[in-house]
């Protein structure tokens, strides 16, 4: 009799405690949701873990792809969207949205040619475009030899690797090729998926990395982090200023610094082929998209606080994942944009 009384009462206390703690948590923490680009997913999840530890607010980010992120924010089902492609000014105005960059990443040409060490190959935009157009088919083509007089290049076919899935990486890469080659612009153009004149498609950065590793004499493009983690041979690039640059965090940041953000309304600017002397030519960012007049004021406030935290204290976390934090000058511009464009 005694035990049977004791047990329910204990359960009762437990249930009460659980209910109280649940109630307590929902009372103080705000859960905000975001969706979109898979490019920023690793860094946003790292930031949000650190941010949750500090403030108790959770950021629930779904990496469903940029297209999906734009659709979700337009439908108003998430607090912020993230896209690898900036929205046009008229699109933003139509839905009352604003956008700003969140983090920078680099895209690097990666290759696998025996006897040619990582970082010893130099390419430039027009050559890269001709290789992807299928006009340059051999590694010892005069155009490549001219850029690499001291490297011994084999007389074998170049196996071109590209992404098979639609991606922001492809969008920035093809945008770069369109800027440096009129032929590419008229024949192929730019987009998250394009009609590739040649080559094989790997699914995701990991698919492209695997193909490059396995196929001798291959050339592809991957996000910087994948080239580093998979120890792929990367190529140096001749940039718009004519200097040969290495893909490093410094050269990505140089591209972000020299890009003409001041004259870009709503940060609608792609950093590819940036003019700076030290700028890496295929540098990319992704954009956070939010309503200018918040649908849910409390959530939006937390979202702004989260991105402020990411810009100011999330820099090491970004670098640890081979992303590049935004330069201070750009962060200032973004914060000015927040106070002028957003009703907080």
């Amino acid at each position: 009799m005694l035990t049977s009384l004791k047990l329910p009462s204990r359960l009762g206390t437990l249930a009460f405690a659980v209910a109280a703690s649940l109630f307590g948590m929902t009372a103080q923490a705000t859960d905000i949701t975001g969706a979109g680009s898979s490019f920023v997913y690793p860094v946003i999840s790292k930031w949000s873990a650190a941010y949750a530890e500090k403030t108790g607010n959770h950021i629930n980010y779904q990496s469903i792809g940029s297209g999906g992120g734009i659709a979700q924010i337009k439908a108003g089902t998430v607090d912020f969207g993230a896209s690898d492609m900036p929205l046009k000014a008229e699109d933003l105005a139509k839905f009352g949205l604003g956008q700003f960059p969140d983090v920078i990443g680099g895209i690097v040409p990666a290759f696998n040619v025996s006897g040619v060490a990582a970082g010893s190959l130099v390419l430039d935009g027009p050559t890269l475009a001709d290789i992807y157009l299928g006009k340059i088919t051999m590694w010892n083509d005069p155009a490549i030899v001219k850029l690499n007089p001291s490297v011994h290049l084999p007389s074998s076919k170049i196996f071109v690797v590209h992404r098979s899935d639609g991606s922001g990486t492809t969008f920035n890469f093809t945008d770069y090729l369109s800027k440096v080659s009129t032929d590419w612009k008229s024949k192929v153009g730019e987009g998250t998926a394009v009609q590739w004149p040649t080559g094989i498609g790997g699914k995701g950065n990991e698919g492209v990395s695997a193909y490059i590793k396995q196929i001798p004499n291959s050339l592809g493009y991957v996000e910087y982090a994948y080239a580093v983690q998979n120890k792929l041979g990367y190529a140096k690039m001749k940039n718009a200023a004519g200097t040969v640059v290495e893909p490093t965090i410094a050269s990505f940041q140089a591209a972000a610094n020299t890009a003409d953000w001041k004259n870009a309304k709503d940060f609608n600017l792609l950093m590819t082929n940036a003019p700076g002397a030290d700028a890496w030519p295929i540098t990319a960012t992704s954009w956070v998209i939010m309503y200018k007049t918040p649908k849910n004021a409390a959530n939006t406030k937390v979202a702004f606080d989260f991105f402020k935290y990411a810009y100011e204290q999330g820099q090491d976390a970004a670098r640890a994942l081979d992303y590049v934090p935004l330069p201070a000058s750009l962060v200032q511009q973004i914060e000015a944009y927040w106070s002028s464009e957003y009703k907080q």
């Binding site: 297209g67 098979s164 899935d165 639609g166 192929v188 009609q195 699914k203 396995q214």
Partner: protein
């Protein structure tokens, strides 16, 4: 006395038979509803993919079906390359998997010693339980390098034979239609062989024993007794495997090479309906999304046609046998 006591009994049976009839009716409706639910789901899925893909399907007549142009930038879409890729890889898979499955089933039911049957059939059924992404990873990291190492020999030998030589020419990438077909063959093998094994076991022992008594060899018993007895079930098993091969996505995406350029060679990369959808759906908007949904509808159509051919073949067989 007997009349008064007999009177309530017929009323009771009448009542019972009326409730029974009602229950029967209710049960019949329930069953019919269950069957209709499947039909409605199928029809709903087919119609919604047709509706989602209407912008592309009915643009410029049936250009979508016969064009190999797939250009998301210009919004030009043609499904020929994915359709060809799907059919070719599934056909290779069937050509390889059917004879091997037949051999396995034959061995396990007629030849293998009793102690071996259990473990071997369990191993084959375990093959069916492996998720397709695992086949994809295995294909990409283990099988593709192996194919790349034997492809030069393939194109030097088979590539020189007149007509079929064109099928085996190309760079030794290791990726492509042939590799995808072989990986698919391994994937559908357990389905076909376990169906064959099950139905071979249903052949009455007295039929086989009579045949052996007349002096038949094991091969003659299998070919003339077992196979004709189980023919329709065997064909059913083969088409079960084919259905799986047509719709397989992830494993194919990893080893097919994902290229929309149509070529004659099996060693060149291609694409399939399901892998195109899996690759591009995430980032597709507008017409591009519509084209991918239309591809989904085409997969319905292709599968339906294949099943129709299977039914037709079965009917022809039955007619020949005079059933």
């Amino acid at each position: 006395m007997s009349a008064t006591s007999a009177e309530p009994i017929p009323r009771d049976t009448e009542h019972r038979s009326r409730t029974d009839a009602r229950h029967d009716l209710f049960f019949r409706f329930l069953l019919r509803f269950c069957a209709m639910l499947v039909l409605a789901a199928l029809l709903g899925a087919a119609l919604s993919t047709l509706w989602g893909g209407r912008e592309v399907l009915f643009k410029d007549g049936f250009r979508f079906l016969f064009s190999s142009d797939w250009n998301p930038v210009e919004n030009q879409f043609g499904a020929l390359a994915p359709i060809v890729g799907t059919l070719v890889t599934s056909l290779i898979a069937l050509l390889l998997a059917v004879p091997v499955s037949f051999g396995i089933a034959l061995f396990l039911t007629e030849i293998a010693p009793r102690w071996m049957r259990g473990p071997v059939s369990a191993a084959i059924e375990l093959l069916a339980a492996i998720p397709s992404i695992i086949y994809g990873m295995w294909g990409l990291f283990v099988f593709v390098p192996f194919m790349a190492s034997i492809e030069p020999t393939l194109s030097d030998t088979l590539g020189n034979i007149p007509v079929i030589g064109a099928l085996f020419q190309g760079p030794p990438l290791g990726l492509g239609l042939l590799t995808a077909g072989i990986v698919l063959a391994v994937m559908i093998l357990p389905f076909i062989s376990s169906v064959m094994r099950e139905v071979f076991q249903t052949v009455p022992a007295r039929l086989k024993e009579s045949s052996y008594a007349l002096g038949s060899t094991t091969w003659e018993v299998v070919w003339d007794i077992v196979l004709p007895y189980t023919r329709s079930a065997v064909i059913g098993g083969i088409f079960l495997g084919l259905g799986r091969a047509l719709g397989e996505t992830m494993a194919v995406t990893f080893v097919l090479g994902n290229s929309y350029n149509l070529t004659a060679s099996l060693l060149m990369p291609g694409t399939s309906i399901s892998s195109s959808i899996a690759n591009e759906f995430n980032e597709a908007v507008g017409m591009h999304r519509s084209a991918l949904i239309a591809l989904g509808f085409l997969l319905f159509v292709v599968t339906f046609i294949v099943l129709l051919i299977a039914r037709f073949m079965l009917r022809q067989l039955q007619r020949k046998e005079g059933r």
